[in-house]
Symmetry: C2
Subunit: 169 residues, 2 copies
Amino acid sequence: MAATRLTPTSYIILGLLEQAGTATPYELKRVAATSLANFWLLQHAQFYTEPERLTGAGYLTVERERHGRRRKLYSITSAGKQVLAEWRAQPTGEFTELRDPGLLKLFLGAKPAPLAEAQLETHRAKLQEYEALRTKDTGRRPRGQRLALDAGIAHEREWVRFWSGLAEE
Amino acid sequence: MAATRLTPTSYIILGLLEQAGTATPYELKRVAATSLANFWLLQHAQFYTEPERLTGAGYLTVERERHGRRRKLYSITSAGKQVLAEWRAQPTGEFTELRDPGLLKLFLGAKPAPLAEAQLETHRAKLQEYEALRTKDTGRRPRGQRLALDAGIAHEREWVRFWSGLAEE
DNA sequence: TGAAGCATGTAATTTGTTACATGATTGG
DNA sequence: CCAATCATGTAACAAATTACATGCTTCA
């Protein structure tokens, strides 16, 4: 078995499955949609291809439903739990760039005002969305998830501040 | 000629070349390293492969040096200038997720304190680096570049604030 | 009962990343 | 003058995105 490289995508799938116990790709997708997707969106197809890879590497098991749609039900193996735990226990100093498309345009010479206008709209909407999420089911989610949401809110506020300063010119 | 899809990478190359006039991939890389790389890092190979693609699409021209290393010198064509201008003029409401690896660990259940420790270190370093850049050659760079740097600084400050709150537990 | 939209999956394509390979230059 | 590092380029590989295809539900 070739040593499968585990990417962030892998850990996302492993993490979601650890929580869910057993799930179909679609279920994982549903779960992700309401929480993770706010700061790390996976493509539809990745919920299908990545579990397959992980199964090949021994970190998951599959079982097909016997009746009906014969969907694939994935579960995490103990090997899977282990790599996940190791990854989680290892603090990372890794860093990601902003990679914001709006900022890129600004950088490459776009006129600030109209760009700021458009950016403000989306960032304000996002901010509202996040804040609604937080006031809603607070307490229900695990701590890490709440914290991630807080981080998202803080950064959205920052974007709003940033683009606000450029909108009225 | 197949309609080549232009990605952010494409516009980065086009934008850098418009500024530079004529340049080798390595020169572009140098320029990017001191400014753009802070929020949008391109891989070494992309400075070579992307210009090739763009040349095929008619947005750049190449010429090889006659002597010595026979390096490839790229220039932007008027078609290239045009797509770049169009892109720049079109405000975008596009949105990117944070996609931060540290945040992902937190989300998936990592212990906050040690993670915060590691994250603080890198973010503090980045912040310092950016601030040094700003105080140094201020005024020399085009406005968009300065603004992008400001955005970077603001977000780094936010990260420092965020992880600080989790470090002492 | 049939159209719309969810649910499910895979294949093809494109992009990004890693790895390899070698040529120049410079300073010890 | 040779070792280290910078510069230059391409090829192979892996991953993510897009596109395709079709099966089930539900409700008008």
